[in-house]
């Protein structure tokens, strides 16, 4: 499984934000996308999710041209995305929020409940929050919920946008531990995580990409291949 970005160009409000972003996100690897504020990390993820129109370039999942499909197709194709601003449904409970993609994809009950249990095993905090409304959790808790929701569909690719931003140290540690667990339980998953401070993710990165002013380069010196724990 490979998600390929090929010379992706995106403009926001008439300003070119991504100027030819190319990279490959591959299964069994954790790719970290590092970049300063405003470098284009969120824009890259949104482009993958079909939330922004491309000016040029291609995005393909195993040869399937994602440009041809509307945004909601990504969930069906097995791409989960936890946005930095969470985007929960405020008047649905946390559990309903997590189940929502399963509902939209029309998963059968057994499958849906199985995935939900799996998510609760990874993120036990969510089980305690499950009756709360989506609008009634803190920012950090909301990030966990967004991760849970993304996991409901992420059969192939999981995109996390600055998962640690704004998290208290304890919660950040929790989150990092969860990502480690996830790697063990779901080795096939391709993970793409953005961060503005590289140090946090060093331990789990297989590959580090650097994005600067809308262009990506492989970061020299840091690739630690084959450290995927099985």
């Amino acid at each position: 499984m490979t998600l390929v970005l090929d010379k992706v160009q995106v403009s926001i409000e008439g300003v070119r934000v991504l100027r030819g972003v190319s990279c490959e996100i591959v299964e069994r690897k954790t790719t970290i996308l590092i970049g300063r504020n405003g470098a284009g990390k969120t824009t890259t993820l949104r482009a993958i999710m079909g939330l922004l129109a491309l000016d040029g370039g291609d995005i393909r999942l195993d040869g399937d041209d994602l440009r041809k499909h509307p945004a909601h197709y990504r969930a069906r194709a097995g791409i989960g995305y936890a946005p930095e601003d969470r985007r929960l449904v405020p008047e649905m409970t946390i559990e309903e929020n997590i189940r929502l993609p399963g509902l939209a994809l029309n998963l059968d009950k057994g499958e849906l409940n199985g995935r939900l249990e799996e998510i609760y095993t990874f993120l036990p905090q969510l089980r305690d929050l499950r009756k709360r409304p989506g609008g009634g959790v803190s920012g950090g808790q909301g990030k966990m919920v967004a991760l849970g929701r993304a996991l409901m569909v992420a059969r192939k690719v999981l995109l996390l946008d600055e998962p640690f931003q704004g998290l208290a140290p304890a919660l950040a540690l929790d989150y990092a531990r969860t990502l480690g667990e996830l790697r063990k339980h779901r080795p096939e998953l391709a993970l793409l995580i953005t961060e503005s401070t590289p140090a946090l993710l060093d331990a789990i990165a297989d590959r580090t990409l650097q994005i600067e002013r809308g262009e990506i380069s492989e970061q020299a010196g840091s690739p630690r291949t084959e450290n995927v724990a099985v």
């Binding site: 449904v89 509902l103 939209a104």
Partner: protein, 298 residues
């Protein structure tokens, strides 16, 4: 409560039930596209004509003409969404919405078009729809209601109950609520936001047309008959909290009762103004409405 008060309360609630049929759809549209559909009253007008003409001109039994009016409204809603609403979000990616006057102008234009179209094609005269039953008056203790109105109210209550249940629990109902509350979040979760808005427009058009059909024996439909019910619906949607369906239902009943009492105890001539006064009071003191959220995005 004296007998007349009971009568006023019951008749006010019945009026409110008909308001709710209209207001629910308007509220759903606001929820999903964050626009006010200024052609909503014309869906109602089209429903009244559809029912009346199908029943009288084609000689179709009223019990078939009534659901057909819903179908006509739903088709009109579908057409409106496909042709006029698409630009609101099509070029704006699947989660963003155009944020300018487009929706105001285009729905207002649709309203004028439909009024004039019906005026030219069918004529400016008022049409009276056939009642569902001939019973002229039903007396229930102190309450006096025409047979048609009582039956129509019963049907409206059933339709509202089914609609509310569908929105709360059905497959598409849950997805529509998710899109209304967080469009981008819903899209990430795999929900087809375009399909959700088509369904909302069909349901909304169908319900408004159904209201027009149910009331056609009493409103004497003319091309501009939708204007007042539409204004009432706008008031109700604000009172109930923009986008809230339970809020719209409760605000409808509330307005129906207020008008009913106000018409007797304050002034009959000003009965259509009470809603506007209520609207101003709400805008001053509780702008989020009865059930509205101050911020719906998380």
């Amino acid at each position: 409560m004296s007998g007349i008060d009971v009568d006023l309360a019951v008749n006010g609630l019945i009026t409110g039930v008909f308001y709710a049929l209209m207001a629910i759809g308007l509220s759903l549209i606001f929820g999903i596209l964050k626009i006010v559909n200024f052609a909503h009253g014309e869906f109602y007008m089209v429903g009244a004509y559809a029912y009346t003409l199908i029943a009288l001109a084609l000689g179709v039994p009223v019990w078939i003409a009534l659901p057909l009016a819903f179908v006509v409204g739903a088709l009109l809603g579908w057409l409106t969404e496909r042709t006029l609403m698409r630009p609101l979000y099509a070029g704006y990616t699947s989660w963003g919405l155009m944020r300018d006057e487009y929706a105001v102008i285009v729905t207002f234009g649709l309203s004028l078009f439909l009024i004039n179209f019906v005026d030219k094609v069918i004529g400016p005269y008022a049409y009276r729809g056939p009642p569902l039953v001939e019973t002229s008056r039903v007396v229930l203790g102190p309450v006096l209601i025409s047979g048609h109105r009582l039956l129509a109210a019963g049907i409206a209550i059933a339709v509202i109950a089914v609609t509310a249940a569908l929105i709360k629990w059905s497959f598409w109902g849950q997805q529509i609520r998710a899109v209304s509350q967080n469009r981008l979040g819903a899209s990430l979760a795999g929900i087809d936001t375009a399909k959700a808005s088509v369904i909302v427009f069909m349901l909304s058009g169908g319900l408004a047309a159904f209201a027009g059909a149910l009331l056609s024996p009493v409103i004497n439909a003319s091309p501009d008959v939708g204007i007042f019910p539409a204004i009432k619906s706008y008031i109700i949607v604000v009172l109930g909290g923009m986008g809230s369906v339970p809020g719209a239902i409760i605000a409808s009943l509330f307005l129906g009762v207020i008008e009913s009492f106000g018409a007797v105890y304050i002034s009959f001539q000003y009965r259509d103004a009470f809603g506007l006064i209520l609207l101003m009071l709400f805008l001053l003191f509780r702008p989020q409405g009865l059930f509205g959220e101050k911020g719906r995005e998380v």
